[in-house]
């Protein structure tokens, strides 16, 4: 069961991106107010803003962390056509004691002639590399040859994707069997332009990135794209936010040692969900790529999980404003509201938005005997999931509002 609580963000305009660092103890947010904020988590689980500074002269679209091995480094990209690299330094004053840290700009990447829509660091094993994509359809890969000097970045590759790019994702696999690979999505609205997701792979021989695959079935504008953490799997999983949530599996075909071309992939669509009813804006994988979160125009965050048969289904719906926690005063009310809402939902569903917000249907425990039994197709599973949201056990409710359980992490409890 997931429980939301609000954090006073204090951004003056819309927040466009949230990004955790490698350890999950720091967080960066960026906003239309042209600033980036860095947050640190205290031992008791509270987030404190330790830095906030103006980064660009336009909306900041995305912010991302480098692996801590390279220091405390952030990259941001903006409507002002630039991307920037930031590093935390120990200030002259006793800033740290006051809970503030100091970030300085190490470089500004000015190669794009249009809005830079996404910025991502390449996986750690490739060294310190930064990728940007921009509205003019160009992906740029920069490298810091000297990781001690973050002010020097050389533009290593410039890849034209022909379509306005909106998002980029690196394949995080560190296996030597998988050459470096990234996927780029386009928000071009024109359906006739063909596939909106392109996958590029590094070729050791030509030392260039070349297109390995275009997902021709994705023809609508793509807003976000995310490779799942590979975790030693033999295939790659890609989540796409377009007019629906889609999960693709890319299975590399066995390659003959002589062939030098890009890897051939068997592309399978694993799941496709239109529960957001409209555009899906973001997708994000958890660390083991067993949970996917998506957000859409219905104002909800949805959680997806696969069962042991690789059937994905919705395991949770959370309202985007976290309203239940703030709006409910006592537990009895909470229960009745939930019951009431479920009834109402079936009649005049406001975009599926009201659908039992705290409903987390328990997954059937994998019993030995029913290995191949009664599996419904994914869509009907979802129907089923929304039809009976009265499920949440009343026992779980008293816990929900107690602040202790909210703040402490499971790991802390184990001590």
């Amino acid at each position: 069961m997931f429980v939301a609580r609000s954090i006073a963000a204090d951004h003056k305009d819309l927040i466009h991106d949230v990004s955790y660092d490698f350890h999950g103890r720091r967080m960066a947010t960026c906003s239309s107010d042209q600033s980036v904020k860095v947050w640190d988590k205290t031992e008791n689980g509270e987030w404190h803003c330790t830095a906030s500074w103006k980064t660009h002269s336009g909306s900041v679209w995305r912010v991302t962390w480098a692996h801590p091995e390279f220091g405390q480094v952030l990259a941001s990209c903006s409507f002002d056509r630039t991307a920037a690299v930031w590093e935390e330094i120990v200030g002259e004053s006793n800033d740290k004691q006051r809970g503030l840290s100091h970030w300085i700009k190490r470089t500004t990447l000015v190669d794009s002639r249009t809005s830079v829509t996404d910025v991502k660091f390449a996986p750690k094993h490739m060294g310190l590399m930064l990728t940007t994509c921009s509205a003019d359809g160009v992906v740029r890969i920069y490298e810091a040859p000297d990781v001690m000097n973050l002010s020097q970045w050389s533009l290593q590759h410039e890849i034209s994707c022909k379509l306005s790019c909106s998002c980029i994702s690196w394949n995080p696999s560190s296996s030597r069997a998988h050459p470096p690979m990234f996927a780029v999505g386009s928000d071009d609205n024109n359906v006739s332009c063909g596939g909106k997701v392109q996958i590029y792979e590094y070729n050791e021989n030509t030392r260039k990135y070349s297109k390995a695959e275009t997902l021709m079935t994705v023809t609508d504008a793509v807003h976000d794209i995310a490779f799942a953490p590979n975790l030693g799997r033999s295939f790659h999983v890609l989540a796409i936010a377009t007019k629906d949530v889609r999960i693709f599996k890319l299975v590399p075909m066995r390659k003959e040692s002589t062939s030098t071309g890009p890897t051939m992939f068997e592309v399978q669509i694993v799941a496709q969900f239109d529960n957001h009813n409209s555009q899906v804006w973001r997708v994000s994988w958890n660390i083991t790529s067993t949970l996917l979160a998506s957000s859409g125009d219905d104002g909800c965050v949805r959680l997806w999980k696969a069962n042991y048969m690789d059937n994905w289904k919705c395991t949770g719906i959370l309202k985007g404003d976290g309203s239940p926690l703030t709006g409910l005063s006592g537990q009895p009310t909470a229960m009745s509201t939930m019951m009431g809402s479920s009834v109402q939902t079936s009649q005049n569903a406001i975009n599926g938005m009201s659908a039992g917000r705290y409903f987390f249907p328990p997954l059937e425990p994998p019993t030995v005997g029913t290995r191949y039994g009664h599996l419904l197709p994914p869509s009907s599973l979802i129907e089923h999931c929304e039809a009976e949201p009265v499920q949440p056990q009343p026992l779980a409710l008293p816990h929900r509002l107690s602040s202790k359980t909210l703040l402490s992490l499971p790991e802390a409890e184990g001590q």
């Binding site: 997931f2 949230v18 999950g24 909306s59 740290k96 979160a293 125009d297 965050v301 309203s323 406001i350």
Partner: protein, 878 residues
Amino acid sequence: MSGSKPDILWSPHQPDRFVICDSELGLYRIGPVGSAETKAGTLPLSEESAATLLAINSDTPYMKCVAWYPKHEPECLLAVGQANGRVVLTSLGQSHNSSCKDLVGKEFVPKHARQCNTLAWNPVDSNLLAAGLDKHRADFSVLIWDISSKYSPEASVAAEKIRLSSVDLDSSTVVTKPLYELGQNDACLSLCWLLRDPKLLLAGMHRNLAIFDLRNTSQKTFVNTKAIQGVTVDPHFHDRVASFFEGQVAIWDLRKFEKPVLTLTEQPKPLTKVAWCPTRTGLLATLTRDSNIIRLYDMQHTPTPIGDETEPTIIERSVHPCESQIGSFAWHPSSQNRMVVVSAANRAMTDFTVFERISLAWSTTTSLMWACGRHLYDCVEEGAEGVESMIEKDIATKMRQRAQSRYGHDTIQVWRNHVLAGGNDPQLKSLWHDLFYMKQCAEDMELKLQGNKQSVVYSGIKNIVKTSSGTTESRRCWSGSDRQTDVPRYHSEERCLALRLCGWISRGPEIDMEAFLRSLEQEREWERAAAVALFNLDIRRAIQILNKGATAEKGDLNLNVVAMALSGYTDEKSSLWREMCSSLRLQLKNPYLCVMFAFLTSEPGAYDGVLYESSVAVRDRVAFACMFLNDAQLPRYIDKLTNDMKEAGNLEGMLLTGLTKDGVDLMESYVNRTGDVQTASFCMLKGSPGEVLKDPRVQCWIENYRNLLDAWRFWHKRAEFDIHRGKLDPTSKPLAQVFVSCNFCGKSISYSCSAMPHQGRGFSQYGVSGSPTKSKVTSCPGCRKPLPRCALCLMNMGTPVSNCPGTGKSDEKVDLTRENKLAQFNNWFTWCHNCRHGGHAGHMLSWFRDHTECPVSACTCKCMQLDTTGNLVPSDSS
């Protein structure tokens, strides 16, 4: 407003009031659903809100447009434009103070009657009301009325005329002389006052957009365009204006008024309303006819007047507030992104909030952060306790919990690892038991044969039975029955080993299952025990076990019935018993009871009913196969089962594959399915050091698992894992990371230590050295020059430090035992990589507890703050 089609207006000052106007005006108050004032008559607008009807006004027929007076006082004053061009002031509800009384009922009458299309109150000069009218010959179409103007005598003649047509009106309330008359010989379809200068009025005329200046009414700026409907100024950028024509919206910048700065994608149906969101910059909502969708355009940039040739970023969205067709909508003036939507048909209202695009991210510890608008939400998975909840937990959570319970680290009682993992995963239970039996056999073999049989044990039953030779066949009596059976049983050394790996027999040459049966009885696995006894051709023992199961506490009495059925066993081919057993056995729920009868009723050598019963544990089926399948059948069955297991990624199959390449294949599909690299890593480390560890896939799992531990800040667990791995895979040991060289001779000060192993490995151990021939502990072992001094105690390094640090705080005494334990560590060298000052680790630590700067005079280095990661606390320390 054409009769039936409703419109909504929010009160400019009371955030809970709005007016719906169609043929009459209805004033509503919006409130939370559960509030005490909720009465039966409320209309639900959403889950949380409901509206109460406060007042209805049907005094003004033929309404065409309505505008709400923008000032606080009088509240609820509305201007209504009628089909005949008159503008009437009217009020809704309570407030009947003097100023309001004067105004309510006032009428503003144009010279020629024609439809009034639009009304707009001046936002600053609030007694100015602009009305846009249809064309009437050469007459003016934009009239600006002063509502405070009194009845004008010069207009009395005209007023008289009008009185003839509307008798009920008081002549003193009729105004016929507008303050300004604009837009001659034209029609006006939409109007709005410009916010940057309240003397300017923007009007959508017949074929142009015109800006009139009240200071100089003879002049106007205009641009020819078709997009003249619904002009509206962006409340956040006063130079930005939207207007529409048919299905197309044009956005204008008043600073370069020649052409639209952009036009939005054309809709197939004509638009009916376009409105800027008052609470959020750059959000424009549009509505087309006969639609249940409100389309939103998110203009995510600051408009610049000149010199910006880039296309602005516009994100198109659509929201779907209700199922029915939308008549109109209105943004709430102050609530963030909130609007009320009214349906075209039945005045059904919906309270609706447009959510911002939510961006989200998972943390490493399975908590979800998302940003919606300007707010952040942290969402954590609640740690639900109990075995049941463990099943539905995500593998990431499971792995974290298992890492903390030292899962995988029990190298003696290997099977215990499944208990450490939570003890409720049958596959893990099977896997760790397999590994336990393999280890047992391997140790045993070594003692017995001294040969290299170990690899055979770990190569899995699949390989073991392949090499099987010298199989003997035996026919044994059913014990407890005097009949000679024709059930052949096969024996060989390899099959015996396989049975041991299955856990059916323990060491020793004899096939003695009694120990196994007793342990099963202890585990209360009655059915399984009975089946094993039966497969051992001991029908009496099987019956005995079933009886025990039936009489045991919470036992199943049905077992007695099964025992009864069993006791009737006959090998008569055509007996009723046989017939009934083979048909009724399928109704038995317990797979073991089912296979018992399958075994009894099948022909020798044709045991498919047992072998392919997938609910029976693989180990039991394999053990059965090893006993009853001949040399031709056995490898075929094992191969098939192995392939099935590999495909399914079922860890029970590890028994068959062993820790071979096949095993890695099986584990690969398990990892593909579950992502459980933890089990994969620990399992592969259990085997004999061999090829499997060199497999790139195994290395990849290990790396991924270590990376996970790092990301969770389980550094201690990672280190323990590395130690564990180093024991089994010596190649993974990292080389020494740091060497300290002497200032004088340049030799490593530890170099000589390793050259003289009898002196101990660590430098700190020098302190106890008593021999005069050995070099002094505070000097370089190479050149005997003294080592540098500690910046705090100013002693040469190598001196044993006292246990009580210099600060001498009282509470540190309590910690004395702990300090004693750390004494060795306190002696260690430490230094700052930045300023290269250092000293004894203990001294340094206690210094930096109270200080931020380096203890060396005039050095301002903030040694302890340099490394952010260094300040992170491992989350798995006790």
